[in-house]
């Protein structure tokens, strides 16, 4: 499944990050990379609030759709 389908409170493992957007490089540098665990804290509007390690990151749903998790 992709990250957008994750329910709030759930913790998942990132399998792959797809997509060609330049901004994905930033997203990866922020810690959303394959092999990392991420938990979804909240969904608000077009954005998701995630917790990766000790940091909280907001990304848009469109980007989340390109992140494969389990």
């Amino acid at each position: 499944m992709n990250l957008e389908e994750v329910r709030p409170g759930q913790e998942v493992l990132i399998l792959n990050v797809y997509g060609k957007e330049e901004v994905l490089e930033k997203v990866k540098a922020m810690g959303l990379r394959e092999g990392r665990r991420v938990s979804l804290l909240q969904k608000v509007g077009r954005n998701l609030l995630l917790k990766v390690n000790n940091s909280r990151i907001v990304i848009s749903r469109e980007l989340a759709r390109g992140i494969e998790v389990q």
Partner: protein, 688 residues
């Protein structure tokens, strides 16, 4: 004295600004990077025999730049080559922060690694073996607490030693295949790893090396390099960091549950904004009155007394006391408001609340084609356009900045309210309805302007929303005061010359030809008479209205006093004896009263700043006779939309550039005129 250029580099929100504040103290300066509206914070300190120039680079996650901020940091590091890099990392997030550290080490510039927020790490159960870290990388490692300043003292001595010893970090070792390729590209021993990588990835003649890497690793060469960086960063993390899982609740999670709640969070946001306005108006109002009294009742007479005793003629004396002290002074009366707003904005920023507003409100803002971060600068515009425009520095793209800066001046500020309440109470049965409609009209025109810009100059998709929400942190009062003072000083310093120039120019218009007694004989009146036909379609064909707009360019509310002098020039200025000692005492006492009032006001439940003072009765009668209600409506609409505010124009000029500021001024004039024209027509049709 030798100067050492030191760059503070790190991810966003790692506390670089707090460290800079501890290092630079009162020498903290804020400004803009040349040509862009990205904030530059810097400081200069003397240490031993060195002049240390500290620059706080915009926060970045990687040296692969995308946004304006990232380009600035990237260009500074790679082109201006600082003497020493201070890499500030957030200890609880080393897993993420080490990527940038690895990229910085590739540059092989003397580097100091600062583990900031080591206190937070401890609470989260994160332990770092800093000795081992230092050994692995060959860099000095320090621990600091940016909030209290603990450990900060050790930074400068280490920076100086790194500089004098030219102490370079150990070269990083990537995989064997990659290292071999890089060695083949090496032309001199001086070349850093970052230069070799650039040659590998960018130079045309090295295509075969890239092909070689692609065949070896099954990935494009730049992907190979990235993977190696990540692997190095991850390896480093695993070597030096131990995380004990802690069960204790994180305060940030608890606060977020309330502050980011989809319904409650929004209600609390509006409460926070209401408090921000209430405190900034009520706390600053007594000081604003004091500044006005101080300038007119103390500085102006003092300057004119000094000039007279020096033997200056009356014309020179008036130029100084009226144009310089009066004109510039009037813009300065807004300083307490601007300062308090900067202070409160810094509280929101440094506490970590500001990015949360962006997250919370993005779902409304993005429907307007704007980033969630745009909301706060727009709302600040209702308080004062000047700090609102400066607040757009937090926006990431130039497109967003320019759109929001073009919207802010239509947000009606208290200076406009003063004018509205004078005219609305004079001409209309329901002044509150009229004033409310004017505010709404301002918002409407702002939205229309954004729409216009998005369909012409700034086409294109709204970019993806990616940001980090830092943990909540309690900023220290010292940091907040220094940062807001730095903003105020920057405004004075950079907008000062423009404000001064415009004040003198306007005064000259009103006082030339020499010896003019009555404003109706001045150049300003000639200009007013010449442009009066332009305002005829708005029902404002009286030359006195057009003329009063000239001095009102300093600030809108001046229109009332300038109408006063133009409509009834017979009012004589009171001549009083000026007694220096007595006046000083008087000013000191009134400053004390202002401070007391400021504190009292702040704790009153209802905002006091909106209590409108009654205008002068004589002026009310003259104006009432000379204007029709539809014309008064047109006048208010015009003044709402036209950027008749020197401070705003000056800050736009400085933030975005002269041509933008002047173009926007012309645009606002045209929009104001058109809307005024419509308002006049509607007003007549309604039979007001």
């Amino acid at each position: 004295m030798k100067s050492v250029r030191v760059a503070l580099v790190g991810n966003p929100n790692v506390g670089k600004t707090s460290l800079l504040n501890h290092l630079a103290g009162t020498n903290l300066k804020v400004g803009n990077w040349p040509g862009v509206t990205v904030e530059k914070r810097e400081g200069r300190v003397k240490f031993q025999d060195y002049q240390i120039e500290l620059v706080d680079l915009p926060g970045i996650y990687t040296l692969e730049p995308l946004s304006e901020e990232e380009w600035i940091a990237y260009n500074y590091i790679t082109q201006e080559k600082p003497d020493v890099v201070v890499n500030v990392v957030e200890t609880p997030n080393l897993q993420r922060d080490f990527l940038l550290t690895v990229e910085l080490l590739e540059l092989e510039i003397p580097t100091l690694l600062v583990l900031n927020m080591s206190d937070e790490a401890q609470k989260l159960g994160v332990e770092v073996n800093d000795r081992w870290l230092s050994e692995l990388l060959g860099v000095r490692v320090l621990r600091t607490n940016g909030r209290t300043g603990k450990g900060v003292k050790a930074i400068l001595p280490n920076v100086v030693e790194l500089y004098t010893l030219k102490e370079k970090p150990k070269p990083l070792r990537y995989s064997k295949e990659l290292e071999e390729v890089l060695e083949k590209l090496r032309e001199s021993a001086q070349e850093s790893k970052s230069e070799l990588l650039r040659k590998l990835l960018q130079e045309r003649q090295n295509l075969h090396y890239r092909e070689f890497l692609k065949n070896t690793f099954g990935k494009e060469a730049h992907e190979v390099v990235k993977d190696q960086r990540y692997a190095t960063a991850h390896g480093l993390y695993r070597e030096v960091v131990k995380e004990r899982p802690l069960t204790s609740k994180d305060i940030t999670d608890s606060l977020d549950r309330v502050l980011l709640h989809p319904a409650l969070g929004i209600a609390l946001f509006f409460l926070v904004m209401f408090m921000l306005f209430k405190v900034s108006f009520d706390f600053s109002a007594p000081f604003m009155d004091w500044v006005e009294g101080f300038i007119n009742g103390f500085v102006a007479p003092l300057v004119s007394m000094g000039l007279v005793s020096l033997g200056a003629g009356p014309w020179v004396e008036r130029l100084f006391s009226e144009a310089l002290v009066g004109g510039v002074g009037f813009v300065l009366t807004f300083l307490p408001l601007v300062g308090v707003m900067y202070f409160l904005l810094s509280v929101l920023e440094f506490s970590g609340y500001l990015p949360r507003v962006a997250f919370l409100m993005d779902r409304f803002m993005h429907r307007l084609g704007l980033h969630g971060k745009s909301l706060v600068p727009l709302l600040l515009g209702f308080g004062c356009n000047v700090p609102a425009i400066v607040a757009t520095r937090t926006l990431e793209t130039r497109r967003d900045k320019l759109i929001v800066i073009s919207m802010i001046p239509f947000m009606s500020c208290p200076a406009r309210l003063v004018v509205f309440s004078f005219f609305a109470t004079l001409f209309f049965q329901n002044p509150a309805v009229v004033i409310f409609s004017l505010y709404m009209l301002g918002v409407f025109v702002a939205l229309l302007t954004a729409l216009l810009l998005r369909h012409t100059a700034f086409r294109g998709e709204l970019y993806h929303f990616v940001m980090e929400l830092p943990p909540y942190r309690l900023p220290t009062l010292r940091l907040l005061l220094r940062v807001s003072w730095a903003y105020v000083r920057d405004f004075l310093y950079r907008a000062g010359t423009l404000i001064f120039g415009a004040s003198v120019f306007i005064w000259l218009l009103l006082n030339l030809p020499p010896g003019v007694k009555d404003p109706s004989e001045s150049v300003a009146a000639q200009v007013g008479k010449a442009v009066a036909p332009l305002f005829k379609p708005l029902g404002l064909d009286d030359w006195r209205v057009a003329t009063s707009l000239i001095p009102a360019f300093l600030a809108r509310e001046i229109v009332l006093s300038s109408m006063g002098t133009i409509y009834s020039p017979q009012v004589e200025k009171e001549e009083k004896e000026f007694d220096l000692l007595g006046a000083m005492k008087e000013q000191a006492v009134s400053l004390g009263v202002a401070a007391k009032d400021a504190v009292l006001n702040t704790f009153k439940p209802v905002p006091t700043a909106f209590e409108v003072e009654e205008g002068e009765e004589s002026l009310r009668q003259v104006v009432a006779k000379s204007l029709s209600p539809p014309a008064a409506l047109a006048f208010m609409v015009f003044l709402l939309l036209y950027t008749s505010c020197l401070g705003t124009v000056a800050v736009m000029w400085r933030e975005v550039g002269r041509s933008f500021a002047l173009l926007f001024l012309a645009y606002s004039f045209v929009v104001g005129w058109l809307a005024g024209f419509v308002a006049y027509g509607v007003g007549k049709a309604l039979g007001l």
